[in-house]
């Protein structure tokens, strides 16, 4: 049995299973709630229940006082939903979140292109004439046939192209879903998506120069974000530091070169980590974080940085940015907190990165 959990002040609604704690449901949906001990003693995860019934579970009577229970407070790490509930948590309000509702869309695969030996571009034309409203950087769930289920992919196209959604999908060895996309999916095929999901988008209201760091198949969100910013005339400097192993994996390279030609505030810094020596590559050789350090001369102050890519790349980039004086409040990662992450031993030093 599943209920709906609405988290204020985000206004985001997510599913919560019977017996699942509020904290677990939130973390799995990518919503960070402050927490520490995870067994009802420290009260770090205290939230206000605005509507609905909860079971307080094993919350200690010293961590959740009687008067707080009367005031409908609860500890997210222990509390389970008894029906649909609304909570208010200590989450920063985000002036850039549009909190767009998630909807289901039917559509047709309109185009398939081989972008690199391992990545395919898939275009899905939606039946709904108005298309899907989304914020650049958000993702969708793609429904796949044959009992495969749904898979999450970031949207690679700009929000202005809301009627036809582009996805860039890398084949994952042994992955059922990505193998289907690469080997079986055909133009003209009917499909369904739901979205938009996620809280990874540009903090436009901050109005400071932005850095995008992308690697592997993490280019989708930054590409959508950059196209969006340039289309609406964002005037601050935009820098894309984009890494792949080799030149043949460096998809959309020419497009970014052309964008850099056309927009004087857009700088493009490609980096190849495993390009064969002696090839005609003139750009940076090495990893994304080193390319960024080099390009910015180890000084990232007064920027906002958006990171997309494999976990090792993200970690290296965070370290580089912090040693170049850019800290947590200005670093954003496209990261899905999986159940495994939620259980991993991490220090509470950082919350979002």
């Amino acid at each position: 049995m599943s209920y709906e959990l609405t988290i204020e002040p985000l206004g985001q609604t997510i599913p919560i299973e019977e017996g699942q704690t509020i904290l677990d449901a939130a973390l799995r949906a990518g919503v960070y709630l402050p927490h520490a001990c995870c067994h009802g003693l420290c009260a770090t995860c205290k939230v206000q229940v605005v509507d609905g019934e909860v079971d307080h579970g094993e919350a200690s009577s010293f961590a959740l006082m009687d008067f707080e229970r009367d005031e409908q407070k609860t500890l997210a790490c222990c509390a389970t939903a008894q029906g649909d509930i609304v909570i208010e948590a200590e989450i920063e309000e985000d002036p850039d979140a549009e909190n767009l509702p998630v909807r289901d869309f039917a559509g047709t695969v309109s185009r398939i292109e081989t972008l690199t030996p391992t990545i395919k571009g898939i275009w899905i034309k939606l039946d709904d004439a108005e298309g899907m409203r989304f914020q650049a950087g958000q993702y969708i769930n793609l429904e796949l046939p044959d009992g495969i289920g749904t898979r999450a992919f970031s949207v690679a196209s700009a929000p202005s192209e809301s009627g036809e959604i582009e996805l860039n999908i890398r084949i994952v060895p042994g992955g059922q879903g990505t193998r289907y996309v690469h080997e079986t999916m055909r133009v003209g095929e009917r499909t369904k998506i739901s979205g938009p999901y996620g809280r990874f988008f540009v903090k436009k209201s901050a109005d400071v120069p932005v850095i995008f760091m992308a690697g592997g198949s993490g280019l989708s969100s930054p590409r959508s974000m950059i196209l969006d910013l340039l289309a609406e005339g964002f005037e601050r400097p935009i820098t894309l530091v984009y890494g792949q192993r080799t030149r043949e994996e460096l998809y959309y390279h020419d497009e970014f070169l052309a964008l850099a030609e056309r927009h004087k505030n857009f700088r493009y810094v490609p980096a190849l980590s495993h390009e064969p020596e002696g090839s005609d590559w003139q750009g940076f050789r090495g990893f994304v974080h080193d390319a960024a350090k080099n390009h910015f001369d180890n000084d990232f102050r007064a920027h906002k940085a958006y990171l997309c890519g494999p976990p090792l790349m993200i970690e290296a980039c965070i370290g580089t940015l912090m040693r170049g004086r850019l800290f947590e409040r200005d670093i954003y990662t496209e990261k899905f907190i999986s159940a495994a992450d939620a259980q991993q031993v991490r220090s509470p030093l950082f919350k979002a990165i």
């Binding site: 003693l41 009260a43 200690s60 006082m65 200590e90 920063e92 965070i318």
Partner: protein
């Protein structure tokens, strides 16, 4: 189109800002430097105090409401404990020694922390910081009080509890904890925050409190469990303050990094030495044991501490300098220190004892590479002597480490058969240390540590070596508070009263 628009609610952060930050003001007839004279001399550079985050958005009126209810609940349980002879529900009278360690060494530390936070709350200019320090100062005095009240019930029945404050200030094994807090309280405000707010409250707190509180739960001591719960509900706020402080320093200016690193090196090692007492309590003093010191270190030291230093590495912080030496000492320290307590048990305000066969089998299972090889033979020898009526006593006085004040009883990190001893000369005087870590701490600030008050030299200086006069001075009643548990008044009373409570004879 008529769309209903929900009115946007004021976020919790915004509400809190309106209720606290506006409390600050700019001084007009004195300069900021005059109002906050201590905030710059440590060399920490701060450019923007408003970047200090206070994630616990607690206002003073809400704070009182919480603490009042905690106190009501706590005292209800303490009263019930007293009325129902809760002291007879503990597993065994040996457990009382763990409580004596706590009351003599740790509870006064809570009071010291209270004084320290009151002071730094005044010395820091930022409003968020001031409010957080003020609340923590009140928390700490509450913790000291609830602990003393809870344990005062045991003082009605057993020895060694009556003069915990004297024992703390003057007794050789307790001045280890005292000197730790004195060192922190006589440091600048930022160093105090790293020492207490960060090292103690975050890095070491689980190693300190979890063993005591779980130990209490395992051994039937509900009064102690209750003050543990009551205190732990404040801990999240304390840890956050320490973590925010270190992030703040590291983010404000790159020049702060080497200063912070130096403090982390120092306070990790200082704290680790205080844990020597805790390791012994865990491995030897709990009749029903929770886990070994080694197991606790694996979870709270290696795993949690490792995760923390991995995150701090992003700032360029490396693990504390003494980390490897600490790891090497884990399988030895509790045994070495218990042997120390036992051989000098005539000078302790708690009882120690020779571990039983069952105890020793447990220790050898938990310390397979060290206990049977290095420590069981010593206990066997001590037991043989005891059977012949000769209790193993060392009437020589221990040489104390000038920094941590522990007796120099530990071994070389890489050779458990060799006693570890370091010395250094400063202005013509020779100073002794238990380890490289303590020697480094001294050498960084010799003028501070040459002033350290050490209990063993004091015995000669103040009492010309008269142990009886010294015992009076530390409020130690010979034959009551000290010596072997076997044959003690505590043992006799506990067993007699428990017998009355659980049988008809």
């Amino acid at each position: 189109m008529d769309m209903k628009v929900a009115k946007k609610k004021l976020g919790l952060k915004e509400k809190y800002r309106l209720m606290t930050r506006d409390l600050g003001w700019e001084p007009s007839y004195r300069t900021k430097d005059e109002v906050f004279p201590y905030v710059k001399y440590e060399g920490i550079k701060v450019h923007d105090w408003d970047k200090w985050e206070d994630p616990f958005r607690l206002t003073m009126d809400a704070y009182w409401k919480y603490q009042a209810e905690k106190e009501r609940k706590f005292y209800a349980i303490i009263d019930a404990h007293a009325q129902n002879n809760g002291h007879l529900n503990i597993t065994d009278g040996r457990y009382l020694s763990a409580l004596k360690v706590f009351l003599q060494a740790i509870s006064p530390g809570e009071y010291a922390a209270h004084k320290g936070f009151s002071r730094v709350g005044r010395e820091f200019p930022g409003v968020g910081t001031q409010v957080a320090c003020q609340m923590q100062a009140i928390d700490e005095i509450r913790h000291a009080q609830t602990q003393i009240h809870a344990l005062s019930n045991y003082n009605k029945y057993y020895n060694g509890f009556h003069a915990f404050a004297d024992a703390r200030d003057r007794m050789w094994y307790n001045t280890v904890a005292r000197s730790f807090f004195d060192d922190a309280m006589s440091a600048g405000p930022f160093e105090f925050m790293i020492a207490i707010g960060f090292s103690f409250e975050y890095v070491l707190t689980n190693l300190l409190f979890v063993p005591f509180m779980s130990g209490a739960a395992y051994n039937g001591d509900m009064a102690t469990v209750t003050f543990g719960f009551s205190a732990q509900s404040d801990e999240a706020r304390h840890m956050t303050l320490g973590l925010e402080c270190i992030k703040f320093m590291l983010e404000q200016d790159p020049d702060n990094l080497p200063i912070v690193q130096g403090w982390l090196d120092k306070w990790f090692w200082r704290g680790f030495r205080v844990l020597g007492l805790v390791s012994t309590m865990m491995d030897y003093m709990l009749p029903k044991r929770v886990m070994s010191w080694r197991e606790a270190w694996e979870i709270y030291g290696v795993e949690n501490g490792g995760a923390l230093f991995k995150d701090l590495a992003r700032y360029g912080i490396r693990p504390p300098k003494g980390w490897d030496d600490a790891e090497k000492s884990i399988d030895h320290m509790s045994h070495q220190f218990m042997l120390g307590l036992y051989q000098w048990s005539f000078g302790t305000s708690l009882h120690s004892w020779i571990p039983s066969d069952e105890d020793m089998d447990w220790l050898s299972a938990k310390y397979p590479t060290t206990f049977d090889k290095y420590y069981r033979p010593r206990w066997d020898h001590i037991r043989k002597l005891a059977a012949e009526g000769k209790q193993f006593k060392n009437f020589g006085l221990a040489k104390l480490c000038q920094t941590c004040q522990l007796p120099v009883v530990f071994t070389e990190p890489d050779d458990p058969t060799m006693s570890c001893h370091r010395e250094t000369s400063y202005k013509g005087e020779k100073y002794h240390f238990c380890s490289d870590g303590c020697q480094h701490v001294f050498e960084n600030e010799p003028e501070k540590y040459v002033q350290a008050w050490l209990p063993m030299p004091a015995l000669f200086r103040e009492f010309e070596g008269d142990v009886g006069a010294w015992m009076d001075w530390v409020s130690l009643r010979d034959g009551q508070d000290n010596g072997d548990y076997v044959g003690s008044i505590d043992q006799r009373n506990f067993e007699q009263w428990r017998g009355l409570a659980t049988s008809n004879t």
